[in-house]
Protein backbone atom coordinates (compact mmCIF):
# COMPACT_ATOMS: atom_id res chain seq x y z
CA UNK A 1 0.00 0.00 0.00
CA UNK A 2 1.37 3.33 -1.01
CA UNK A 3 1.83 6.13 1.44
CA UNK A 4 -0.89 8.72 1.30
CA UNK A 5 0.31 11.75 -0.65
CA UNK A 6 -0.91 15.19 0.21
CA UNK A 7 -0.91 18.67 -1.19
CA UNK A 8 -1.42 21.20 1.56
CA UNK A 9 -2.10 24.85 1.00
CA UNK A 10 -1.86 27.08 4.03
CA UNK A 11 -3.09 30.67 4.31
CA UNK A 12 -2.23 31.44 0.73
CA UNK A 13 -2.51 35.01 -0.45
CA UNK A 14 -2.09 36.33 -3.95
CA UNK A 15 -1.92 40.00 -4.87
CA UNK A 16 -1.79 41.07 -8.47
CA UNK A 17 -1.44 44.70 -9.50
CA UNK A 18 -2.46 45.85 -6.02
CA UNK A 19 -5.60 43.74 -6.16
CA UNK A 20 -6.05 40.94 -3.66
CA UNK A 21 -7.14 37.91 -5.64
CA UNK A 22 -7.48 35.65 -2.65
CA UNK A 23 -6.37 35.76 0.93
CA UNK A 24 -6.11 33.16 3.67
CA UNK A 25 -6.86 30.33 1.30
CA UNK A 26 -6.25 26.91 2.83
CA UNK A 27 -7.10 23.45 1.62
CA UNK A 28 -5.76 19.91 1.49
CA UNK A 29 -5.89 17.39 -1.29
CA UNK A 30 -5.00 13.74 -0.70
CA UNK A 31 -4.42 10.85 -3.07
CA UNK A 32 -7.67 9.63 -4.49
CA UNK A 33 -9.21 13.09 -4.49
CA UNK A 34 -9.94 15.80 -7.00
CA UNK A 35 -10.15 19.52 -6.40
CA UNK A 36 -12.21 21.69 -8.68
CA UNK A 37 -11.56 25.43 -8.60
CA UNK A 38 -14.43 27.61 -9.63
CA UNK A 39 -14.76 31.32 -10.06
CA UNK A 40 -15.29 34.05 -12.58
CA UNK A 41 -12.71 35.17 -15.07
CA UNK A 42 -9.97 37.01 -13.27
CA UNK A 43 -10.80 35.54 -9.89
CA UNK A 44 -7.31 34.07 -9.56
CA UNK A 45 -7.81 30.45 -10.59
CA UNK A 46 -4.90 30.42 -12.98
CA UNK A 47 -2.76 32.42 -10.58
CA UNK A 48 -3.47 29.85 -7.88
CA UNK A 49 -2.45 27.03 -10.22
CA UNK A 50 0.71 28.92 -11.11
CA UNK A 51 1.53 29.19 -7.44
CA UNK A 52 0.92 25.46 -7.03
CA UNK A 53 3.35 24.83 -9.91
CA UNK A 54 5.96 27.10 -8.39
CA UNK A 55 5.88 29.58 -11.29
CA UNK A 56 4.64 32.32 -9.01
CA UNK A 57 5.70 33.07 -5.48
CA UNK A 58 2.72 33.36 -3.13
CA UNK A 59 2.52 36.76 -1.46
CA UNK A 60 1.90 34.99 1.82
CA UNK A 61 1.38 31.43 2.96
CA UNK A 62 2.91 28.19 1.78
CA UNK A 63 2.32 25.17 -0.40
CA UNK A 64 3.45 21.84 1.01
CA UNK A 65 3.79 18.52 -0.78
CA UNK A 66 3.72 15.65 1.73
CA UNK A 67 4.71 18.16 4.38
CA UNK A 68 7.70 19.64 2.51
CA UNK A 69 7.90 22.96 0.65
CA UNK A 70 7.35 22.26 -3.06
CA UNK A 71 10.69 23.75 -4.07
CA UNK A 72 12.69 21.46 -1.83
CA UNK A 73 11.21 18.02 -2.11
CA UNK A 74 10.28 15.50 -4.73
CA UNK A 75 7.24 17.50 -5.83
CA UNK A 76 8.33 18.05 -9.41
CA UNK A 77 8.92 14.32 -9.93
CA UNK A 78 5.33 13.64 -9.05
CA UNK A 79 3.37 16.38 -10.73
CA UNK A 80 2.34 17.24 -14.25
CA UNK A 81 0.82 20.47 -15.50
CA UNK A 82 -1.23 21.34 -18.55
CA UNK A 83 -1.96 25.03 -18.78
CA UNK A 84 -3.46 27.43 -21.26
CA UNK A 85 -0.53 26.84 -23.58
CA UNK A 86 -0.29 23.38 -25.07
CA UNK A 87 3.44 23.09 -24.52
CA UNK A 88 3.93 21.17 -27.74
CA UNK A 89 6.14 22.19 -30.62
CA UNK A 90 4.25 22.62 -33.86
CA UNK A 91 7.24 21.82 -36.07
CA UNK A 92 7.74 18.43 -34.40
CA UNK A 93 5.72 15.30 -34.97
CA UNK A 94 3.39 13.86 -32.36
CA UNK A 95 5.91 11.16 -31.54
CA UNK A 96 8.84 13.58 -31.22
CA UNK A 97 6.82 15.74 -28.86
CA UNK A 98 5.97 12.81 -26.63
CA UNK A 99 9.56 11.58 -26.64
CA UNK A 100 10.79 14.92 -25.38
CA UNK A 101 8.14 14.84 -22.67
CA UNK A 102 9.34 11.43 -21.48
CA UNK A 103 12.96 12.59 -21.59
CA UNK A 104 12.10 15.53 -19.33
CA UNK A 105 10.33 13.34 -16.79
CA UNK A 106 10.23 9.68 -15.92
CA UNK A 107 8.46 7.15 -18.14
CA UNK A 108 5.13 6.40 -16.56
CA UNK A 109 2.32 3.92 -16.47
CA UNK A 110 1.63 3.87 -20.20
CA UNK A 111 3.92 3.50 -23.19
CA UNK A 112 3.73 6.02 -26.00
CA UNK A 113 1.64 3.68 -28.17
CA UNK A 114 -0.83 2.98 -25.37
CA UNK A 115 -1.09 6.67 -24.62
CA UNK A 116 -1.82 7.58 -28.22
CA UNK A 117 -4.52 4.93 -28.23
CA UNK A 118 -6.01 6.32 -25.03
CA UNK A 119 -6.29 9.83 -26.44
CA UNK A 120 -7.45 8.56 -29.83
CA UNK A 121 -4.41 9.77 -31.71
CA UNK A 122 -3.02 6.42 -32.86
CA UNK A 123 -1.89 6.57 -36.42
CA UNK A 124 -0.88 10.21 -36.01
CA UNK A 125 2.64 9.37 -34.78
CA UNK A 126 4.46 10.94 -37.68
CA UNK A 127 2.12 13.84 -38.30
CA UNK A 128 3.51 17.31 -37.64
CA UNK A 129 1.61 18.97 -34.82
CA UNK A 130 0.93 22.06 -36.93
CA UNK A 131 -1.36 19.99 -39.13
CA UNK A 132 -3.43 18.73 -36.19
CA UNK A 133 -6.70 20.40 -35.24
CA UNK A 134 -6.95 22.44 -32.03
CA UNK A 135 -8.75 19.62 -30.24
CA UNK A 136 -6.18 17.08 -31.34
CA UNK A 137 -3.39 19.35 -30.11
CA UNK A 138 -5.15 19.57 -26.79
CA UNK A 139 -5.43 15.79 -26.60
CA UNK A 140 -1.72 15.56 -27.35
CA UNK A 141 -0.83 17.90 -24.51
CA UNK A 142 -3.10 15.88 -22.22
CA UNK A 143 -1.31 12.75 -23.41
CA UNK A 144 1.74 14.09 -21.64
CA UNK A 145 -0.03 13.38 -18.35
CA UNK A 146 -0.22 9.70 -19.18
CA UNK A 147 3.27 9.00 -20.47
CA UNK A 148 5.15 10.44 -17.54
CA UNK A 149 5.15 9.02 -14.06
CA UNK A 150 3.19 11.37 -11.82
CA UNK A 151 0.65 11.50 -9.06
CA UNK A 152 -0.66 15.04 -9.14
CA UNK A 153 -2.24 16.56 -12.23
CA UNK A 154 -2.60 20.31 -12.28
CA UNK A 155 -4.90 21.29 -15.11
CA UNK A 156 -5.88 24.77 -16.18
CA UNK A 157 -9.02 24.59 -18.33
CA UNK A 158 -8.14 21.15 -19.71
CA UNK A 159 -11.32 20.91 -21.80
CA UNK A 160 -10.69 23.99 -23.94
CA UNK A 161 -11.32 23.13 -27.59
CA UNK A 162 -12.16 19.50 -26.82
CA UNK A 163 -15.43 18.17 -28.25
CA UNK A 164 -18.01 16.27 -26.17
CA UNK A 165 -16.40 12.98 -26.96
CA UNK A 166 -12.96 14.31 -26.06
CA UNK A 167 -14.27 15.57 -22.75
CA UNK A 168 -15.84 12.20 -21.97
CA UNK A 169 -12.61 10.39 -22.82
CA UNK A 170 -10.63 12.69 -20.65
CA UNK A 171 -13.03 12.50 -17.73
CA UNK A 172 -12.66 8.73 -17.84
CA UNK A 173 -8.88 9.09 -17.79
CA UNK A 174 -9.10 11.38 -14.77
CA UNK A 175 -11.33 8.90 -12.92
CA UNK A 176 -8.85 6.18 -13.79
CA UNK A 177 -5.92 8.27 -12.56
CA UNK A 178 -7.62 9.15 -9.29
CA UNK A 179 -8.60 5.52 -8.74
CA UNK A 180 -4.89 4.68 -8.95
CA UNK A 181 -4.18 6.87 -5.92
CA UNK A 182 -3.59 9.92 -8.05
CA UNK A 183 -4.91 13.39 -7.47
CA UNK A 184 -6.16 16.14 -9.73
CA UNK A 185 -6.44 19.87 -9.23
CA UNK A 186 -8.29 21.58 -12.04
CA UNK A 187 -10.18 24.62 -13.15
CA UNK A 188 -12.96 24.29 -15.65
CA UNK A 189 -15.81 26.27 -17.10
CA UNK A 190 -17.40 23.08 -18.33
CA UNK A 191 -19.48 20.96 -16.00
CA UNK A 192 -17.49 17.93 -15.18
CA UNK A 193 -18.78 14.57 -14.09
CA UNK A 194 -16.38 12.33 -12.26
CA UNK A 195 -18.30 9.24 -11.23
CA UNK A 196 -17.53 7.80 -7.82
CA UNK A 197 -14.76 10.33 -7.10
CA UNK A 198 -14.35 12.47 -4.06
CA UNK A 199 -14.46 15.98 -5.56
CA UNK A 200 -13.84 19.07 -3.44
CA UNK A 201 -15.01 22.33 -4.88
CA UNK A 202 -13.52 25.67 -3.96
CA UNK A 203 -15.06 28.86 -5.20
CA UNK A 204 -12.78 31.84 -5.57
CA UNK A 205 -14.65 35.10 -5.24
Amino acid sequence: MERLLSLEVKNLCCIRDDRVLFDNLSFNVFSGQALLLEGQNGSGKSSLLKILCGFREPDAGEVLWCGVEINNGTFFEQMAYVGHLDGVKKELTVLENLKIATALGKPGHYSIEETLEKVYLSGYDDVLVQSLSAGQKRRLSLARLLITDNKLWILDEPFTSLDKEGIAIFEALMVDHIAREGMVVLTSHHDITLHGIDVQTIRLA
Binding site: K50, C53, G54, F55, R56, E57, T74, F76, E77, M79, A80, Y81, G83, H84, L85, D86, G87, V88, K89, K90, E91, L92, E96, K99, I100, A101, T102, A103, L104, G105, K106, P107, R144
Partner: protein
Protein backbone atom coordinates in the same frame (compact mmCIF):
# COMPACT_ATOMS: atom_id res chain seq x y z
CA UNK B 1 15.15 8.99 -17.50
CA UNK B 2 18.55 10.30 -16.59
CA UNK B 3 19.82 13.83 -16.88
CA UNK B 4 22.23 13.02 -19.71
CA UNK B 5 19.35 11.54 -21.71
CA UNK B 6 17.35 14.71 -21.21
CA UNK B 7 20.38 16.80 -22.19
CA UNK B 8 20.87 14.89 -25.43
CA UNK B 9 17.14 14.78 -26.16
CA UNK B 10 16.93 18.58 -25.93
CA UNK B 11 19.94 19.11 -28.19
CA UNK B 12 18.45 16.70 -30.71
CA UNK B 13 15.05 18.36 -30.47
CA UNK B 14 16.48 21.83 -31.07
CA UNK B 15 18.56 20.63 -34.01
CA UNK B 16 15.50 19.03 -35.60
CA UNK B 17 13.56 22.24 -34.99
CA UNK B 18 16.36 24.29 -36.55
CA UNK B 19 16.39 22.00 -39.55
CA UNK B 20 12.64 22.45 -40.02
CA UNK B 21 12.95 26.24 -39.78
CA UNK B 22 16.02 26.47 -41.98
CA UNK B 23 15.18 29.85 -43.46
CA UNK B 24 14.94 31.50 -40.06
CA UNK B 25 18.11 29.90 -38.81
CA UNK B 26 20.13 30.93 -41.87
CA UNK B 27 19.47 34.63 -41.18
CA UNK B 28 22.42 35.30 -38.86
CA UNK B 29 24.81 33.53 -41.22
CA UNK B 30 23.50 35.51 -44.15
CA UNK B 31 23.86 38.71 -42.15
CA UNK B 32 27.46 37.79 -41.27
CA UNK B 33 28.38 37.15 -44.88
CA UNK B 34 26.58 40.27 -46.14
CA UNK B 35 28.21 42.67 -43.68
CA UNK B 36 31.65 41.33 -44.45
CA UNK B 37 31.20 41.40 -48.21
CA UNK B 38 29.97 44.99 -48.08
CA UNK B 39 33.09 46.31 -46.36
CA UNK B 40 35.48 45.97 -49.35
CA UNK B 41 32.86 47.61 -51.55
CA UNK B 42 32.46 50.50 -49.15
CA UNK B 43 36.16 51.05 -48.58
CA UNK B 44 37.17 50.90 -52.21
CA UNK B 45 40.57 49.71 -53.43
CA UNK B 46 42.48 50.14 -50.18
CA UNK B 47 43.91 46.68 -49.67
CA UNK B 48 46.20 47.68 -46.80
CA UNK B 49 43.40 49.29 -44.83
CA UNK B 50 41.10 46.34 -45.40
CA UNK B 51 43.81 43.94 -44.34
CA UNK B 52 44.41 45.88 -41.15
CA UNK B 53 40.70 46.02 -40.36
CA UNK B 54 39.90 42.40 -41.23
CA UNK B 55 40.08 40.92 -37.69
CA UNK B 56 37.87 43.66 -36.32
CA UNK B 57 35.38 43.44 -39.17
CA UNK B 58 34.99 39.70 -38.85
CA UNK B 59 34.63 39.81 -35.11
CA UNK B 60 32.18 42.68 -35.03
CA UNK B 61 30.08 41.00 -37.70
CA UNK B 62 30.17 37.74 -35.70
CA UNK B 63 29.14 39.58 -32.56
CA UNK B 64 26.21 41.30 -34.24
CA UNK B 65 25.17 38.07 -35.95
CA UNK B 66 25.19 36.37 -32.55
CA UNK B 67 23.07 39.18 -31.10
CA UNK B 68 20.64 38.84 -33.96
CA UNK B 69 20.20 35.13 -33.32
CA UNK B 70 19.78 35.42 -29.55
CA UNK B 71 16.07 36.09 -29.46
CA UNK B 72 15.32 32.73 -31.08
CA UNK B 73 16.97 30.96 -28.14
CA UNK B 74 13.90 30.92 -25.89
CA UNK B 75 11.23 32.83 -27.83
CA UNK B 76 9.27 29.97 -29.38
CA UNK B 77 9.55 27.81 -26.26
CA UNK B 78 8.26 30.70 -24.20
CA UNK B 79 5.36 31.37 -26.56
CA UNK B 80 4.10 27.81 -26.88
CA UNK B 81 4.52 26.79 -23.25
CA UNK B 82 7.40 24.35 -23.74
CA UNK B 83 9.41 26.41 -21.30
CA UNK B 84 6.80 25.80 -18.58
CA UNK B 85 7.37 22.10 -19.06
CA UNK B 86 11.15 22.55 -18.85
CA UNK B 87 10.80 24.40 -15.58
CA UNK B 88 8.50 21.71 -14.17
CA UNK B 89 10.89 18.95 -15.11
CA UNK B 90 12.55 17.32 -12.09
CA UNK B 91 15.91 17.85 -13.83
CA UNK B 92 17.83 21.02 -12.95
CA UNK B 93 16.74 23.80 -15.28
CA UNK B 94 20.27 25.15 -15.69
CA UNK B 95 21.43 21.90 -17.28
CA UNK B 96 18.45 21.85 -19.66
CA UNK B 97 19.24 25.43 -20.60
CA UNK B 98 22.86 24.53 -21.21
CA UNK B 99 21.61 21.91 -23.67
CA UNK B 100 19.58 24.58 -25.44
CA UNK B 101 22.62 26.87 -25.57
CA UNK B 102 24.79 24.11 -27.01
CA UNK B 103 22.21 23.44 -29.72
CA UNK B 104 21.89 27.17 -30.37
CA UNK B 105 25.65 27.50 -30.80
CA UNK B 106 25.77 24.49 -33.14
CA UNK B 107 23.15 26.15 -35.31
CA UNK B 108 24.25 29.78 -35.20
CA UNK B 109 27.88 29.92 -34.01
CA UNK B 110 29.41 26.96 -35.78
CA UNK B 111 28.35 28.04 -39.30
CA UNK B 112 30.09 31.39 -38.75
CA UNK B 113 33.20 29.55 -37.72
CA UNK B 114 33.09 27.34 -40.80
CA UNK B 115 32.60 30.11 -43.30
CA UNK B 116 35.04 32.58 -41.72
CA UNK B 117 38.27 31.29 -43.41
CA UNK B 118 36.71 32.06 -46.76
CA UNK B 119 35.77 35.55 -45.66
CA UNK B 120 39.20 36.07 -44.09
CA UNK B 121 40.86 35.33 -47.41
CA UNK B 122 38.33 37.56 -49.08
CA UNK B 123 39.44 40.45 -46.86
CA UNK B 124 43.07 39.68 -47.56
CA UNK B 125 43.93 38.58 -44.03
CA UNK B 126 47.51 37.23 -43.72
CA UNK B 127 47.63 33.45 -43.94
CA UNK B 128 49.15 32.97 -40.51
CA UNK B 129 46.21 34.76 -38.85
CA UNK B 130 43.52 32.47 -40.21
CA UNK B 131 44.11 29.57 -37.78
CA UNK B 132 44.19 32.05 -34.91
CA UNK B 133 40.95 33.60 -36.16
CA UNK B 134 39.39 30.14 -36.12
CA UNK B 135 40.64 29.54 -32.58
CA UNK B 136 39.24 32.83 -31.36
CA UNK B 137 35.89 32.11 -32.98
CA UNK B 138 35.86 28.58 -31.59
CA UNK B 139 36.52 29.86 -28.07
CA UNK B 140 34.62 33.13 -28.38
CA UNK B 141 31.32 32.42 -30.12
CA UNK B 142 30.11 29.92 -27.46
CA UNK B 143 30.73 32.67 -24.90
CA UNK B 144 28.44 34.94 -26.91
CA UNK B 145 25.67 32.34 -26.77
CA UNK B 146 26.25 31.66 -23.08
CA UNK B 147 26.29 35.27 -21.94
CA UNK B 148 23.47 36.07 -24.32
CA UNK B 149 21.30 33.40 -22.73
CA UNK B 150 21.18 35.41 -19.50
CA UNK B 151 20.05 38.52 -21.35
CA UNK B 152 17.40 36.67 -23.35
CA UNK B 153 16.14 34.90 -20.27
CA UNK B 154 15.63 38.29 -18.64
CA UNK B 155 13.89 39.88 -21.61
CA UNK B 156 11.89 36.98 -23.07
CA UNK B 157 8.81 38.01 -21.11
CA UNK B 158 8.87 41.50 -22.61
CA UNK B 159 7.21 42.00 -25.96
CA UNK B 160 9.80 44.45 -27.26
CA UNK B 161 12.92 43.43 -25.44
CA UNK B 162 15.29 43.83 -28.39
CA UNK B 163 16.88 47.12 -27.40
CA UNK B 164 17.15 46.23 -23.73
CA UNK B 165 18.72 42.94 -24.70
CA UNK B 166 21.40 44.75 -26.71
CA UNK B 167 22.10 47.12 -23.84
CA UNK B 168 22.34 44.24 -21.36
CA UNK B 169 24.46 41.95 -23.40
CA UNK B 170 26.80 44.07 -25.51
CA UNK B 171 28.91 45.41 -22.62
CA UNK B 172 29.50 41.84 -21.51
CA UNK B 173 30.63 40.90 -25.02
CA UNK B 174 33.35 43.54 -25.08
CA UNK B 175 36.10 41.56 -23.29
CA UNK B 176 35.66 38.75 -25.82
CA UNK B 177 35.83 41.23 -28.68
CA UNK B 178 38.98 42.89 -27.32
CA UNK B 179 40.94 39.72 -26.68
CA UNK B 180 39.83 37.98 -29.86
CA UNK B 181 40.46 40.98 -32.10
CA UNK B 182 43.82 41.56 -30.49
CA UNK B 183 44.88 37.92 -30.89
CA UNK B 184 44.11 37.88 -34.61
CA UNK B 185 45.90 41.18 -35.14
CA UNK B 186 49.00 40.02 -33.25
CA UNK B 187 49.06 36.79 -35.21
CA UNK B 188 49.16 38.86 -38.39
CA UNK B 189 52.39 40.47 -37.21
CA UNK B 190 53.81 37.07 -36.27
CA UNK B 191 53.66 37.70 -32.50
CA UNK B 192 52.73 34.99 -29.97
CA UNK B 193 49.03 34.90 -29.08
CA UNK B 194 49.04 32.26 -26.34
CA UNK B 195 48.02 34.71 -23.65
CA UNK B 196 44.95 36.00 -25.47
CA UNK B 197 43.80 32.50 -26.38
CA UNK B 198 44.26 31.35 -22.81
CA UNK B 199 42.18 34.22 -21.54
CA UNK B 200 39.47 33.45 -24.10
CA UNK B 201 39.52 29.81 -22.98
CA UNK B 202 39.25 30.94 -19.37
CA UNK B 203 36.29 33.18 -20.22
CA UNK B 204 34.65 30.28 -22.04
CA UNK B 205 35.01 27.88 -19.12
CA UNK B 206 33.86 30.46 -16.63
CA UNK B 207 30.81 31.26 -18.77
CA UNK B 208 30.10 27.56 -19.28
CA UNK B 209 29.87 27.05 -15.54
CA UNK B 210 28.43 30.38 -14.49
CA UNK B 211 26.01 31.45 -17.24
CA UNK B 212 23.35 28.68 -17.08
CA UNK B 213 22.59 29.33 -13.40
CA UNK B 214 21.54 32.99 -13.66
CA UNK B 215 19.86 32.20 -16.99
CA UNK B 216 17.73 29.56 -15.25
CA UNK B 217 16.88 31.93 -12.41
CA UNK B 218 16.01 34.69 -14.88
CA UNK B 219 13.76 32.38 -16.89
CA UNK B 220 11.86 31.40 -13.77
CA UNK B 221 11.43 35.08 -13.07
CA UNK B 222 10.19 35.73 -16.60
CA UNK B 223 7.56 33.00 -16.15
CA UNK B 224 6.24 34.73 -13.08
CA UNK B 225 4.13 37.12 -15.12
Amino acid sequence: MSLSNAFIAIIRRDLVLAYRRRAEVANPLLFFVLVITLFPLGLGAQTKLLQAMAPGIIWIAALLAAMLSLDSLFRSDFDDGSLEQFILSPHPLSVLILAKIVAHWLVTGLPLLLISPLLAIFLGMPEQSVPVLLWTLLLGTPVLSLIGSIGVALTVGLRRGGMILALLVLPLYIPVLIFAGNAVEMAGSGLPVGAQLNILAAILFAALVLAPLPAAAALKMSMNG
